[in-house]
Subunit: 217 residues, 4 copies
């Protein structure tokens, strides 16, 4: 506002008062997520994170314990976004699965970096996800139980619940992880198809629900 901000502190320059620890940490997290999702753990340098957060390298190390620690922390925070978007308690499979697909599509479009970090981590072997799996397994079991319940009550065709969940996961994740692939495949003179998130969510939802033999809700 008063003076042109120094170009070295992009993420923090707006406020001329000394930014508090929390604000710096937030800037670091944003920078870390951006870098890790673009380049991966090995490909990201602390230098790049520091610059993106408007800090020097030693300054960065004042706030974080190390590259790997920051990565782990971000990974855990990232993964929390997927909690609770599957309403295992409902009795309407069409609504539950439809909402689940829609939520995942919107998450993929809203926070693609988050999804990409997770996919990278899984590709890397998932060694930093030890704390994630137990909880994830538990929630998966609940979902599987719900689906099998619906099948038992004749509300849907007898599909394999694990396969169904993973299929939904893979399809919805795809639009975050492969943004580039999607663009490249559509590129020249193919203006007919743009990944409109609302339409996409509907299409996907329809495909899956019909595939499960669930009547359009």
């Amino acid at each position: 506002m008063t003076k042109p901000s120094a170009p070295t502190k992009p993420a923090l320059a707006a406020r001329s008062v000394r930014p508090g620890r929390e604000q710096i940490m937030a800037a670091i997290r944003i920078a870390g997520i951006a870098e890790f999702s673009e380049k991966g753990l090995a490909g990201t340098s602390t230098q790049a994170i520091a610059e993106r957060a408007g800090l020097t390298k030693p300054q960065l190390h004042y706030y974080i314990a190390g590259k790997e620690q920051l990565y782990e922390e971000l990974l855990m925070s990232v993964v929390a976004d997927w909690k609770g978007i599957f309403d295992a308690g409902s009795t309407d499979p069409g609504k539950v699965l439809g909402d689940y697909i829609r939520s995942k599509v919107h998450l993929a479009f809203d926070k693609p970096e988050v999804s990409r970090i997770f996919t990278r981590e899984v590709l890397d072997g998932g060694r930093n996800l030890d704390r994630f799996w137990p909880d994830s397994r538990k929630r998966t079991r609940e979902k599987v139980a719900a689906i099998n319940g619906w099948i038992a009550r004749g509300l849907m065709e007898p599909v394999d619940a694990h396969m169904l969940l993973m299929g939904i996961w893979a399809m919805t994740q795809f639009y975050a992880d492969s943004a580039l692939q999607v663009q490249q495949l559509m590129k020249p003179g193919q203006a007919s198809w743009t990944p409109d998130r609302a339409k996409l969510a509907d299409e996907l939802s329809t495909l899956i629900l019909r595939g499960c033999g669930i009547a359009r809700r």
Copy 2:
């Protein structure tokens, strides 16, 4: 690999004291695919490739021009596996799509590293895929045309062809890319569900075909 090969020894002496150039090159390719699929381009060291191929680091450079060149070559060879498994000429959507899904599932189980390298490359921005996209786009257009043709003839429900193809891609790819995720989710005392490839291919096929409103063939 730039440097020309000249197999001086006949096949009879193949198992002689010194492994021939072809065998060493093969070992390097295998090592490269393994390393790149596990760690990615940035995370892989020539040291690691060399060790895995049973060579020293400078020895490796006797056979390859550089890390990036090896990577590009492997990436291109890897990508060739996906050509021609979609029979766009047929008039039976159930057979074509079913075979396509089955082929992709088998590829994912047979050569998971191959798929992982590709997924990593796409996450990294796909800068090394310049030569791949044009051909890929062409084949995608053919598939889309075939699907739209089937829809026009009332052979299947009016689903978005691009979405359908990407969905199939994502689902089938998933079992290669996320082998670990799958295992972790199933882990303890969950012997009930193992990713049996034949069963999986059938389940997926059924789900998708029913989702497209294609009568069981």
Copy 3:
């Protein structure tokens, strides 16, 4: 050097425990000039420069962007020394040429490394001198015009101006580039001839001026 300097300490504390950035940069430049002039660009290792400057190799890279960049910078700085020692505006050829010869001889004796770096670069093809030639050509044209003017006014014999300038260049440069050759040729018990710079400048000047038919000024 790309990275910006920020001398935080006042001149008072200049001689403190840690040498300032400017002093380190100066040490690097001196070391670089010495090494490059002795061994050439290809023959010089960053190791050698670092040691000569009292640094470790990675430390050196903290201050410079790379060997070639350092070389280019030094080359350009070196070349600046030759500007403006030819007074093309004067009407007294004897004075102008005499002063020019004297200045070049003194430069050759004062900064022989500078001259050697330049000569090496020319031998190497001069690919790093792209920015130097245009200015150099312009100044050469001015000198040629001045000489031809003197000839037209009958102030000197009709010598080829380009040849004269190059001859002067070559003769004066020689004592920097071939310091060793000179010493070797004079070596044992030949105390009779030492390259006394003042005497040499006079002798050269006399030879050339007489060769041009310019009366002793």
Copy 4:
């Protein structure tokens, strides 16, 4: 003549019969002189020499003891070209010096690589010229004596003989060493001055002889 020659053996491909040792050595010498004069000792790789000579690297090492040894040998052979072009026995300074200048100019134009190797070696410290200096000094002493004799007899002005010899050396050498510099300085729209060797030799000769006060012969 019969079949197109294999591109890997440029220097030897013409004769299909196995080339003799002498021919291979000649090819190596030519290749070595070319490479060393372009890149210097440090900048030249045995690979480059081998390729230029139409050999493989190990083949090259079968014929030579090492890079440095080849270099030394070439340096000595190269230096021999300068012997005997100064006729110290004559009594006509104009003819002797004029012929000397002319010979050196022609050598510089005929075999510029030779001159460049020597200049590089002197810049490098001349450590490989140990065997050259004694003889060179002897010949220099003879030339100095001749010149001083002419001066004593009033045949020329009393110039410093060493300076004169070095000046001639430097001027004539210049056109070999700095071919590039010469071209660059003349470059655009300066067609007026081309380094015609005959004219140049005359101009230089005239300049120096007049500078020595020797009447035009």
